[in-house]
Amino acid sequence: MVIKIDQVLPVLIHNDAIGDEVRNLRDILKKLGYNSNIYTRVTTEETISYTYLDKSIERIIIYHYSTWDETIEYILKLPCKKIFVYHNITPHYFYNDCNINTASALKKAREKLPELRDKFDFVITKSNYSAQELIENGYKNVYILPYVIDFNRYRIKYSEIPVPKNIKYKILYVGRVAPHKKVDELIKIFYFYCKNISTNSFLSIVGDYTDVEPYNKKLRRMISYLKLENVFFAGNSDLKTVSAYYNWADIFVIMSRHEGFCIPIVESMYFGLPVIAYNSSAIPETLGGTGILINNNNYPEIAEIIKECIDNKELKNKIINKQKERLKDFSYTKTTETFKNYIEKIIKL
């Protein structure tokens, strides 16, 4: 009889899509009556070293895969049932110029994907986009579970944020400041916005920027060359701060070229922000026919559509209302129920 369902991943990060998902799943599993721990290579007060995982078969392991790490080699040797949760892998070439170690781990992770198809008893991924990639790599019976997001967690007292008052156009980006997120393009769009539409505008970039230092430096240089004063990097922020930014902003814009899902889009839907996002990877799927998709980098035109979305109240309301409808597909009850069903299925296997 299975009484333990543990999760394994390289590292558990705060304010991170995978990190938050792992915590949410642990809490759900505990509510369902299972003993559930998080095992990592880099341990924190919340996690246990993966080397403590024994050969007990009365356990199910959920492995979260997004990069190559020694933890996977270890868990593959264990005799228990294993669930593969595929969060997708950022294409390595985005990191070639700024973090060669990350680039090489990502490359290996994608190369190893076909080899892993028969090593797990159950396969879950976060979107049809990612499922398609697994199927192309020979995986069968791929199940989809969008990220489990408890929207009640945003009902908190927001932090004070360092943004100027009386700004007319408040543009927001939430996510890591990484090369594949194309924050450089967002800054260029904002340059057109300031120069040709309104100087009374502000761009807040909320997300960790310590991971890829050369890219971060490049962005700072670009801001300096373009003489932009109204751009702010908030860095890795807690829930109270991120919520405050969502509450502050008029619009959410993302030019990312690779997303296995896109939690900030869903969060923007929750906070009633119209979303403008690049038409790539799982972004259209997350939007589900709502929001505005960008197909190229025609910066003057993108700047104009941002303005239109903020100023044209009818358009803005239509987008927001449609997004609210889409949000129902990601309700906590729905995703939790799906996860519960998958767990029941694997126990019966």
Binding site: Y225, L287, G289, I294, N295, N298, I302, L315
Partner: protein, 150 residues
């Protein structure tokens, strides 16, 4: 021959929104701005501001200075003294010291010289590349200059 239409910059999939009307309006706005020379002015401003900070000329001047400095380093410079007879002794002692030190330091000096040459060459190539890429970009900004071409 089939002429491919460049994809629209944005798309709104919600059928309740008249996206064609919005596209038309935005394109009209951009056309007017282009006619008024708004984007050209912006581009000129950017290029001017760039002149203040990172114009390739400055890179080349720095590179020339670095080259001159590298050429000035001469391990066999002439040892001189203004102190008359005692000066000759000083010159002699210095020459002996240099001959001894030369044995130890020459290999290191040679390697440093080789490294300096490599770095200078690298900087020259990089500077050229930056200049070429920037020029290419400045001459080829289709969305600013011409907008979408069908």
């Amino acid at each position: 021959m089939e002429v491919k239409k460049i994809m629209d910059t944005f798309e709104i999939r919600d059928k309740e929104i008249n996206s064609e009307a919005i596209k038309k309006e935005i394109q009209e706005r951009i056309r007017k701005k282009r006619e008024q020379g708004v984007y050209d002015k912006m581009l000129q401003e950017y290029l001017l501001s760039k002149n203040e900070s990172i114009h390739p000329n400055r890179l080349y001047i720095s590179l020339d200075n670095a080259k001159k400095l590298a050429e000035l380093i001469d391990i066999d410079y002439k040892i001189e003294s203004h102190r008359g007879t005692i000066g000759k002794l000083i010159i002699f002692v210095k020459q002996i010291l240099r001959a001894i030190l030369r044995l130890v330091l020459k290999p290191l000096y040679d390697r440093q010289e080789e490294f300096n040459k490599f770095i200078l060459d690298y900087l020259r190539i990089t500077t050229e590349r930056i200049e070429r890429i920037e020029l290419e970009r400045e001459l080829n900004i289709p969305f600013i200059k011409d907008g979408n071409k069908d």
